[in-house]
Amino acid sequence: MLSKTHKAGLLNFLSAQGILVFFLLCMFAFSLFSEQFLSQSNIMTVVRQASIIGIIAVGVTVVIIGGNLDLSVGSMLSFSTVLVVDLHDKIGPVGAILVMFALTLMLGAVNGFLVGFMRLNSLIVTLAMLSAIQGLVLIYSGGQNVDIANQSETWFSVFGQGYLLGIAVPVIIFALLAIIVQVVMSFTGYGRRIFAIGGNPVAAVYSGVRKNWCVFSTYLISAFCVACAALVLGSRVMGSQNNVGQGYELLVLAGIILGGTSLLGGAGSIWKTVIGVLILGFIQNGLLLLGYPYYTQWLVTWVIIILAVWLDLANKRKRLLTRHS
């Protein structure tokens, strides 16, 4: 009797965590064809590379759960990276980081104000911001690359290149952010309110939720994550160029979608996003190790997105049926 329920529980768990199972299957398939794939150094490399997209995706997931979109993160990343790198030599690392965080949060606040308080459509607003911020970066840098002069002498390199207890600092930042935000979203009243707003904004307001502020705050979170990503990126490259984040918004979205967070708002979770981003990273890496041209990864991503989301939907329907009958 007991073993039977245990078995059912395991099956239930597996079908509930479809994405995770899918992920493990992918890993397994790749490891059959490439020996390096599951090597410790390769895994470390992939996770480290995925952490920049991942850090941003954590923030954007919050925005999406709140029922909005943020397409401006790519441009914002260029902005923040160029800023922090350029200021590093001018006002020192501490000042550079502080100014960069402040200005990035300000951009987030502009998004948040337009979407939260002006109640404009987030897709178009952040699209417009994507263009405007890109222009701002170019105006700021005059179109020139920026570099940190004395690369070996600054502790700034720790964010992108450092290790702590054998784990790369970018990965630590990614994990910390993911855990904190996941806890906030699932265990606090604030998180509950964001879910409510994404689920039904009108009803949330009729329940006394300050929707404007909550939506505003999700964009601050997203901007904060972008600033963290910029820290990692700037420190990793020790320089930056104006088009550095171009197209990242789509990778971020692809990761979030792969994880199974619906774009309609009111549902989703951070850990799913983490998995989604990692799947993307490992696909990219796996195909590369197998020697396929880089663009095959786009085809594979297409197929996997459709499959993953479809399975997830089918699964949810089935799960509801089985749980209660």
């Binding site: 509950r192 689920g199 039904n200 009803a203 949330a204 009729y206 329940s207 009958s325």
Partner: protein, 527 residues
């Protein structure tokens, strides 16, 4: 009258008439619920067959199965003796079945005419819409329904009642075999109801079979020839309307007689909890002044569109008053948002539970605690045990029917959804509770429970403002009644000493005559 229930075996007709439609042993399962369990039901040509049942009994589901919206898990549909499979709404419609939905299903940014003929627009060659025919036919239908608006009006510009008339107009597009009305009067005013009854009678005379779902007994007894009752998804008998009475039908529905709510209205009032002084929102309502005391129930009565909900929304901080004052506990308050209002101890059970009351994709428990999160959290962190306790408390208190707290609210029946919304606000322990149409679409049993609950709340010190379009409800619960017409307060009455005639005068903008002593004063809950 005999206490034995005269039920008939479905399919066999009492008067020897063959039914035009028979539903046989229909079963429908949803995740976690068996909504219909081998339900059989038939309709004869030229009769109004009323379908009754508590909230969640499965009435709408049965009709959706008939109209091809839900695929049944078992059973047959026989139309004129022939077995039919309705796997899409289109099929059902082609066979002559029209369903007037409980939830309005109109396309807002389209004209009235296009909505009436949705899915069957008259065409010229090349798939082009024949606008001339469309508007001519629509105008004709609107005339029959005595509607004052034009077929070219945008649906989004119409009031709820007018929208409902558009919905009803769909039944007249072609001569159908079966028309199902699912709670058509829930958002109609007394002005339109007689028109609807006329239409139903005309259809009936033309030999159309009509299914009529409603929670209002008076309508049912006025219109129907036979009454069938569903209970917990099971068929529970059919009776001839002429041979029965309300009590008997109620018993069939809820398994017991309805204890008429004799609980007395609260008596002891305290200080003013709420006072409005000349409150105005430009273009919506004007110069509204009244007060609600602690322990008192004030009813707000008026026709749909009179602006009552808007007053409530303004008190709740959702609209900015252009002039006037809101006083709470004797102090002038400036509420800038619903958040401020909740903080001041105001609660609003809104009129539209689907849009305004609930996060349909969230589970029951989370919806229940949404308005009072700080009471179930510690430094911002949720205490899930405390949440569960809150949910259990109100689930038991209001007998909310759900398989578990994890059920998505969107899957509950209308009445149970309404109870979740009420529970949500009770949990905040408000000083002032505003209920906007608290029993819209709620069955008689639950209605009585909710009325009793309202009185009890008032007795325990709550100040309660009840907005309703149902006279018996207003009369039944209120200590005082505020009548509104066209954005203005037209009169204020003592709830125990007002006649129905006078109230009607007050809400239709006629000069209020002296209190006639012929009208009965004390109402009782509907049913």
């Amino acid at each position: 009258m005999s206490t034995a229930v005269r039920t008939q075996t479905p399919g066999t007709s009492g008067q020897g008439e063959a039914p035009i439609l028979s539903l046989v042993n229909i079963t429908k399962k949803f995740p976690g619920v068996i909504a219909l369990n081998k339900v059989s039901f038939d309709v004869r040509a030229g009769e109004v067959h009323a379908l009754l049942g508590e909230n969640g009994a499965g009435k709408s589901t049965l009709m959706k199965v008939l109209a091809g919206k839900h695929k049944p898990n078992g059973g047959q549909i026989l139309l004129e003796g022939e077995e039919k499979v309705f796997d899409t709404p289109k099929r059902a419609k082609k066979s002559g079945i029209v369903l007037i939905h409980q939830e309005q299903s109109l396309v807002p940014e389209m004209s009235v005419a296009e909505n009436i003929f949705l899915g069957s627009l008259p065409k010229k060659w090349g798939n082009r819409v024949d606008w001339k025919t469309l508007h001519r036919d629509s105008t004709e239908i609107l005339d029959r329904l005595k509607c004052s608006f034009s077929s070219r009006d945008m649906v989004s510009d119409l009031s709820i009642a007018k929208k409902q008339m558009v919905e009803i107009a769909r039944a007249l597009v072609f001569t159908p075999k079966i028309v199902v009305f699912d709670e058509p009067t829930a958002s109609l005013t007394d002005h339109e109801k007689p028109v609807l009854y006329d239409i139903i009678n005309t259809l009936r005379e033309q030999g159309v079979g009509i299914v009529y779902i409603s929670h209002r007994m008076d309508e049912i007894f006025h219109l129907s020839q036979r009454i069938s009752v569903l209970r917990d998804g099971e068929y529970n008998g059919t009776v001839n309307t002429a041979d029965t009475n309300e009590d008997e039908v109620t018993k069939l529905m809820i398994g017991r007689s309805l204890e008429l709510d004799h609980a007395s209205k609260p008596k002891d009032f305290g200080e003013n909890m709420l006072e409005l002084r000349g409150l105005t929102v430009e273009g919506v309502f004007k110069d509204v002044s009244f007060n609600v005391r602690k322990g008192e129930i004030v009813g707000m009565y008026g026709l749909v569109g009179a602006g009552r909900s808007e007053v409530a929304e303004t008190i709740f901080g959702l609209r900015k008053p252009s002039s006037g004052e809101i006083l709470l506990d004797g102090q002038v308050e400036r509420l800038r948002s619903s958040h401020d209002a909740v903080a001041e101890g105001i609660a609003l059970v809104p009129e539209d539970r689907k849009d305004q009351g609930l996060i349909l994709g969230m589970n029951c428990r989370d919806n229940m605690t949404l308005a009072g999160l700080q009471t179930v959290s510690w430094r911002g962190f949720m205490k899930s045990a405390a949440e569960k306790r809150v949910y259990d408390k109100y689930q038991q208190a209001m007998k909310i029917k759900t398989p578990s707290w994890r059920q998505k609210v969107g899957n509950l029946s209308g009445g149970n959804q309404q109870k979740i919304v009420i529970g949500k606000w009770l949990h905040t322990h408000p000083k002032l509770l505003i209920l906007d149409e608290p029993t819209r679409g709620i069955d008689v049993g639950s209605k009585a429970e909710i009325h009793a609950l309202i009185k009890e709340l008032a007795r325990s010190g709550y100040a309660v403002l009840v907005i309703s379009s149902e006279m018996p409800e207003v009369l039944g619960v209120s200590n005082r009644i505020i009548a509104m017409y066209d954005g203005r307060v037209t009169a204020e009455f003592d709830g125990d000493a007002v006649s129905e005639d006078v109230l009607v005068q007050a809400i239709t903008g006629q000069p209020v005559t002296a209190q006639s002593d012929t009208g009965s004063t004390a109402g009782h809950p509907a049913g």
